[in-house]
């Protein structure tokens, strides 16, 4: 029976590891019952989407050791893919059946550009929102990791690449809407369900994607490939000597992370009702790093909660006049303190506290047991 015993204890461990994830998702799903305010719910959905984005960074940074300072690139690509499809749906309504999106008309574009054409199909757009970021990341990863670029240089390359794409999007105003982005979108509609940004359906769509992306990320970190990726993070050359194709695993985790970020980007467009070049800007990219570090880069749930908490607090405080100005200062200080004293973030703090509690209890019950045996001995 020993093998049976190990599998059941393995299962127990799996459940214990999944517990925080499932608890968080249960809270996320039950929030609409407590919050009877559509505007608030929309705001929460926004933070949840940012949580998904941060989980995607945690996957490549915390587990893969790849600090991507251009994570918002994948997010932005996903967001634009969704926005292009939703914009084309407004065309027959606003500018006639053979018309063009309004900003193209203002910019004297005569025909719909070829790369807009396939976005008439929503399923194409959704596939593109996942696959394009993954492909771009795979290409960039192939370029970097095959050349054994590591550490700081990865960060600089990813940052620079994102800035280039951002510049191009702003510059090509007639095809991308430039600075203004793509605004005035139609509602997303899947199988007859309309996703109004302020409706419950959209919230549950986001919540479902939170669960999905956390589960996918969790499954990856527990898979063999995920373990190898973590081994590469800790001892790259050793893993290479064992005969593994290090670059291939790095490329894979990089692309997977980009696909999840692309999903988050698509949801963001649905929730915000527009796409903007700031979605793939330096500011957002660095904010994601902050959220991830504060929550705990080596914990998926930690990264998610870090984003929801910090972005949520930021949103709440920046709306109150008293903290409008000081909030950024507070955030900077908080961030420096976390980097200095909590390298594993809030998740690390929670784990340490939990371990301390367990040890205290074990010590206490041990003392009780000793006390019992002593009294037994004396009788």
């Amino acid at each position: 029976m020993p093998s049976n015993a190990t599998t059941s204890s393995g299962l127990q461990r799996l459940i214990a590891q999944l517990a925080p994830l499932l608890i968080v998702c249960a809270v996320v799903f039950s929030l609409p019952v407590l919050l009877n305010n559509d505007f608030l719910l929309n705001k929460v959905a926004r933070y949840l989407v940012l949580g998904i984005l941060t989980v995607s960074l945690g996957l490549s940074w915390g587990f893969g050791g790849i600090l991507n300072l251009g994570q918002a690139m994948s997010f932005g690509l996903g967001s634009y893919a969704m926005a292009m499809a939703l914009k084309l749906k407004t065309v027959p309504v606003h500018t006639g059946a053979s018309g063009l999106p309004d900003f193209m008309v203002w910019n004297n574009v005569q025909h719909l550009p070829w790369f807009w054409e396939p976005f008439r199909s929503l399923s194409f757009a959704i596939a593109a929102g996942l696959i394009v970021p993954a492909l771009v990341a795979a290409a960039l990863g192939w370029f970097m990791f095959r050349g054994r670029v590591t550490g700081v240089y990865v960060s600089i390359i990813t940052l620079a690449t994102m800035v280039v794409i951002n510049l191009v999007i702003i510059d090509q105003q007639s095809y991308t809407g430039g600075f203004n982005g793509i605004t005035d979108l139609a509602q997303l509609e899947i199988f007859g369900v309309a996703f109004d940004a302020y409706g419950r359906a959209t919230y549950y769509l986001v919540a479902g994607c939170v669960l999905l992306s956390l589960l996918v990320a969790f499954a990856f970190t527990k898979s063999k490939a995920g373990l190898i990726v973590q081994a590469i993070r800790d001892h790259e050359s050793r893993v290479r000597y064992f005969g593994y194709d290090v670059a291939l695993y790095q490329i894979f985790v990089f692309a997977l992370s980009a696909a999840i970020a692309g999903l988050a980007g698509m949801l963001y467009t649905v929730v915000m009702e527009f796409a903007s070049p700031t979605f793939l800007g330096v500011q957002l990219s660095l904010s994601v790093v902050v959220w991830c570090a504060v929550g705990g880069r080596q914990s998926l749930v930690g990264a998610f909660l870090g984003a929801v908490l910090v972005a949520g607090m930021q949103g709440a405080l920046s709306e109150s006049a008293a903290f409008l100005e000081t909030w950024t200062l507070v955030m900077g200080a908080l961030f420096v303190l976390v980097v200095l004293f909590l390298p594993k973030g809030l998740a690390g703090l929670a784990q340490a506290t939990w371990r301390w509690v367990i040890q205290r209890r074990q010590a206490a019950s041990g003392a009780v047991a000793r006390g019992v045996s002593q009294t037994e001995g004396s009788t």
């Binding site: 240089y153 690449t161 280039v164 330096v282």
Partner: protein, 289 residues
């Protein structure tokens, strides 16, 4: 022909500003391995210091250069001493910490002096233009070119001809051996970081008459300066000079042919490709391990 020369001179002028900003960054990165994302904020502090010295003390730009260097260097010293020195052997975390420090500095300035744009006057002695090869060029830009070269020279001397520089190079080679010879690495690091910050402050003060001064003015500079440092090679001061002027000429030249955005994108992409194939930079010889 005239246009061609004008283009080259514009490139030189962009290059000398790039060099000013990148010099401090290069020392900090090359000797301490710290990616200082607060560097742009040191530039911004220098620019504000110039404005403060002018409006409240009536000091001209040239007269306030030394105090500005000292003030910003003091900021650098405090930050190294109380934040970065706690992050030994965690180079990626220094990116995060310096970024946090950067947004704090930005917001602190915004709180204290407001976010409206400020302007610093050109020094009266340098406000006219002079004739270079038959083309009128503002004297101030010629002055900037001279200052950036002079600062480079001073830095080179400091690194190669002084005791502090020698100690710093010893620490870079092998910190523990240097420490066993009685070199106080902590102090040398703090001084190095302070010097780098002071240089950034000078850069900010010197560009302040050319551009408006605002709390977020540093962000643009830091990315450009990084590109200079990476292109030049991390531990090569001469490489930093060469790459600053190459990038200056490149962005000047491409901007002339195309537009500004395309120029920026092409330069960035070129650097991405360069890092991939020569992470040690264009101008460093490969060292035998």
């Amino acid at each position: 022909m005239d246009q061609f020369i004008e283009q080259i001179v514009t490139g030189l002028s962009i290059g000398s500003i790039l060099l000013l900003v990148a010099l401090g960054l290069s020392i900090i990165y090359g000797s301490m391995g710290i990616i200082n994302l607060a560097h742009g904020e040191f530039v911004m502090l220098g620019a504000y210091a110039a404005w403060v010295f002018h409006t409240y003390l009536g000091l001209g730009l040239l007269a306030s250069l030394v105090p500005i260097f000292l003030v910003v260097a003091a900021f650098g010293w405090v930050i190294e001493r109380y934040v970065l020195s706690l992050l030994n052997n965690r180079p990626l975390d220094t990116i995060l910490a310096t970024w946090g420090v950067g947004i704090m500095l930005q917001q602190a300035v915004r709180l204290m002096v407001g976010s409206e744009l400020r302007y610093v006057q050109l020094p009266p002695a340098l406000s006219d233009s002079m004739d270079v090869l038959g083309i009128p060029i503002s004297s101030y830009r010629v002055f900037l070119f001279g200052v950036s070269i002079a600062l480079f020279g001073a830095t080179w001397l400091l690194m190669n001809r002084t005791t502090v520089g020698m100690k710093l190079r010893a620490i870079i080679q092998d910190r523990s051996v240097a420490a066993s010879f009685g070199i106080n690495a902590k102090r040398v690091y703090a001084l190095t970081f302070a010097y780098g910050a002071g240089l950034a402050g000078l850069a900010g003060a010197l560009v302040s008459p050319l551009k408006s001064v605002s709390p977020d003015m540093g962000t643009g500079y830091v990315v450009d300066a990084f590109m200079v440092v990476v292109l030049g090679g991390v531990q090569s001061l001469a490489g930093t000079v060469a790459s600053a002027f190459i990038l200056g000429e490149l962005s000047g030249g491409i901007a002339f042919l195309q537009n500004d955005t395309v120029a920026k994108a092409i330069v960035l992409l070129a650097i991405v490709v360069l890092i991939r194939f020569r992470p040690e930079g264009l101008f460093t010889a490969r060292v035998r391990a």
